[in-house]
């Protein structure tokens, strides 16, 4: 398929939007024209607010996510390898995994205040559970013969963990990460909308409250771009780190 045909419908969609807005078929308030969205984007970029908001949001999302990786992956691996840990964590994870963690935001505000800390804490909690779950599924499903042969050849338990268990679980850990990353963006934007304190979500909500629709759309587009960029980054990282794995070979 040619590129033109592939993106023809997107182009048509954008043109229809612009026409509807310019010809006042839809009130400008509901659907701002692309010209006004572009102008607003330029103004916000020039004033430095847009880059600042993006940086602040990404800082929160990435801090929460990295903390979740540092805690979730070891906990998941321990759950997969140690019976006592599994016994303790299994019911807790099965209850908290499907729970909408955003509910806890008012509580986290009481605990950690209105600044970045409460938001990062909630992102951390929301991202930890999918990571625990996927790491657990990855470490529990490992081919036993791999571990037995390593042990037979005299590999120590610590080395087995680093050289056999974790690499074998890596595809699943990546699945967890690919679930957790979008979750971190969602939780970041929602907590910013709720708690204010700067960031993409806060500016978006504020603009909506003052009915500055072009700016709301600027931030919507920014979020879409950040989402798309982070998703493709994750996919590339996965390809890079899992080169040795069967899934990469199968695609060739």
């Amino acid at each position: 398929m040619t590129r033109a045909r592939r993106y023809g419908s997107v182009l048509f969609f954008l043109l229809a939007w612009e026409a509807a807005s310019q010809l006042k078929l839809v009130p400008e308030f509901f659907l701002p024209s692309w010209v006004s969205i572009g102008q607003q984007a330029w103004v916000d970029t020039a004033s430095g607010q847009l880059p600042m908001d993006i940086a602040l949001s990404m800082f929160r999302a990435l801090t929460g996510l990295s903390m979740a990786v540092l805690v979730g992956v070891p906990l998941g691996a321990a759950m997969g390898r140690v019976k006592a840990v599994r016994w303790f964590l299994d019911p807790l994870v099965s209850i908290w995994l499907p729970a909408p963690k955003v509910t806890f935001f008012p509580l986290f505000v009481i605990w950690f205040g209105f600044g970045s800390a409460s938001k990062i804490a909630l992102i951390f909690v929301a991202c930890t559970f999918p990571l625990i779950n996927m790491t657990y599924l990855g470490t529990v499903g490992i081919d036993r013969y791999l571990i037995w042969s390593a042990r037979n050849m005299g590999t120590g338990e610590r080395k087995i963990l680093w050289k056999v268990v974790l690499p074998a679980a890596l595809p699943q850990i990546f699945n967890g990460l690919q679930i957790a990353f979008p979750v971190s963006l969602i939780v970041t934007s929602v907590t910013e909308m709720l708690g204010g304190g700067g960031g993409v979500g806060a500016s978006m909500m504020e603009s909506a409250r003052f009915a500055l629709m072009p700016r709301v759309f600027v931030y919507l587009i920014v979020l879409a771009v950040v989402g798309a960029f982070s998703m493709s980054l994750m996919a590339q990282l996965r390809r890079l780190l899992l080169q040795w794995h069967e899934e990469a070979q199968a695609g060739r």
Binding site: Y7, G8, W87, S94, T103, S189, L223, G227
Partner: protein, 270 residues
Amino acid sequence: MVAGAGRSGHLVGERRSPAQVLFLGKYSPLAYMIAAWELATAAGLIPELLLPRFSDVMAAWARMMLSGELPEHALSSIWREAAGFSSSVVFGITVGIAMARFRVLRDLFEPLLRLLFPLPKSALIPILIVWLGIGHLSKIAVIFLGCILPVIVSSFNGARGVDRHLVWSALIMGTGKRKLLWRVIIPGALPDILSGTRLALAVSFVLLVGSEMLAGNTGLGFLTYFLSEAGDLAGMFAAIFTLTLLGFLADRLYLRFMRRILIWQREDQE
């Protein structure tokens, strides 16, 4: 049990005394956590301003259940969740399968989907509040739009992935178009569709709570936020507890439903 872990068996062994069931049973860690919570707050290790006592939370829960406050807000949330989620499932599966079957639709929708899929769905909340107001409609629309993309994408992938030989053999044996759809394509796409809708279910609850907290004056999300601002921590915990319970129950019901529907598939694989 954690989803997908399979029947790993009991950890305690075959013969279990009543004491073992009580202290080492499947859900006993929850009881330990609750006991630790109650003891720590009762002993004053954690100030009640930060964490109310578990018994106070349960008392508040019972009081709010009896006064009708909690059921009223819960019903409002459940209605939004059910309306938004079920319409997105019906509509999403239809569009996804139609896209897989008809080239024109695929060319039309695929680029748009590609563009919109990575958007964190919560970004829709402010816009839909401005467009549709602070009542039921904006929340249902947020859930609908947030859930429909994963459903469309998974049904599209599922329907495209149906073994071509199955379709060909059905056609050769004279199966009509309608029957082909219901007997071959939809069942073949089901595993993908069901895992996509499960993801959508999780997202839908986040969107529900987020949009209820941001605007309006009904629903459990609103109640949580309102009670936290009123300083009624025990009541807030009761609302959180109810929401968590609803999320857990919805996920459990969905898993059960999924297992029942996919019974033929699991037997096939084992």
